[in-house]
């Protein structure tokens, strides 16, 4: 009966319901990945797509692969992506302006062509027999069957891939290793440089953020005597990201000094 449902394409099985709920969400998330401006949002949407695919793997009888998908992809790889994203700076958001003129229409046309080709190919192709299903292959359990295959038929590719992984780890270490060409400036050097810079304004160090005792969060710039915000008082990263609060509402003459009646 299940075989019949598989072959006739009847969308009544639980798997079909799962598919028709999750597949549009996955496609929407993948589409959103291309359209959102911030790289962090792209990363989160990709993580969602990966979790969806993990569910599909489990639904298709690849239980172990589904778990590995969650652990390796959404766990390790996406965390690595977010880690590098934070390292490189979240302020470097993608400009969606096209630098090569006419690239985007060409890309979208090519995508429609490629996608249409794949779809029509899949629509016309027939296997010539019914889908078998994994019940027989998974008879000893998915993990045991996979392990048997991995350590017998595929043991040589397995070794090659492990060598590749070690090489990649070494290569990443070599690439990430950073040797300073000039020695790190000491506090003494920095102090001398400040005083020799010509202006005494920065000699005492930069002003700290916050306005009086009213609001001392790091994203509230200090106020200069004339009431304008001192942009040097908050971190450069916050400034670049635009996470700056307006501190003019915390000026002294804006404070309501009327004493409220207390009970």
């Amino acid at each position: 009966m299940i075989q019949l449902a598989i072959n006739t394409g009847v969308t009544q099985t639980p798997e079909a319901i799962l598919f028709w709920i999750l597949a549009p969400l996955a496609v929407a998330a993948a589409l959103g990945m291309l359209l959102v401006k911030k790289a962090v949002h792209s990363a989160l949407l990709l993580a969602f797509v990966m979790v969806t695919l993990a569910i599909f793997y489990i639904a298709q009888g690849a239980v172990f692969l589904g778990i590995v998908q969650v652990v390796v992809y959404t766990g390790a790889v996406m965390m690595l992506f977010l880690f590098i994203l934070m390292l490189v700076g979240v302020d470097s958001s993608d400009s969606l302006t096209e630098t090569i003129s006419g690239l985007r229409p060409i890309a979208i046309t090519a995508a429609f062509g490629f996608g249409g080709l794949m779809m029509s190919l899949l629509g016309r192709a027939t296997l010539g027999r019914e889908a078998i299903g994994l019940d027989a292959a998974n008879a000893n359990g998915n993990v045991a069957s996979l392990a048997q295959l991995l350590f017998s038929k595929y043991v040589w590719p397995f070794e090659i891939v492990s060598a590749l992984l070690i090489t990649a780890a070494l290569g990443a270490m070599v690439l990430a290793h950073h040797q300073r060409e000039i020695p790190r400036p000491t506090q003494r050097d920095l102090s001398i440089a400040r005083f020799r810079s010509g202006s005494l304004a920065t000699a005492a160090g930069l002003p700290g953020p916050g306005v009086f005792a009213r609001h001392n969060a790091v994203d509230v710039p200090a106020l200069l005597p004339d009431g304008s915000p001192a942009s040097a008082s908050i971190s450069e990263t916050l400034r670049a990201r635009g996470d700056m609060k307006d501190s003019s509402i915390y000026q002294l003459d804006q404070i309501n000094t009327a004493v409220e009646e207390e009970k």
Partner: protein, 99 residues
């Protein structure tokens, strides 16, 4: 349910990933789109494994995952190295050969 639906989904995700690689300018987002393409290919492998009734496709999907992990490690290290020297993660800024 017809297993071919998974193949259609795989093709669609692969196409979206390919568009992302061409259209987006941030190197990290480009990398994420490559990951999407690899994942779409994995979905095809798993589906064909089910259609053919053996586990070879799942083993190949494992190998794809390992290769993808290597690719991410090296690619992100390169991005960090470029960012260190050029202060930019945009693929358009690495155009020294053009000038």
């Amino acid at each position: 349910m017809n297993s071919a639906n998974y193949l259609y989904l795989s093709a669609l995700l692969f196409t979206l990933g390919a568009v992302g690689v061409v259209v987006r300018r941030n190197a990290i987002v480009v990398f994420m789109c490559i990951e999407l393409m690899l994942n779409a290919a994995n979905l095809s492998f798993v589906t064909f494994s089910r259609i053919n009734g053996n586990l070879d496709g799942q083993v190949v999907a494992f190998f794809t995952m390992v290769v993808a992990a290597c690719e991410v490690v090296i690619g992100l290290a390169i991005i960090v190295t470029i960012y260190r020297s050029r202060r930019s993660a945009s693929v358009d800024d690495a155009s020294l050969l053009k000038r």
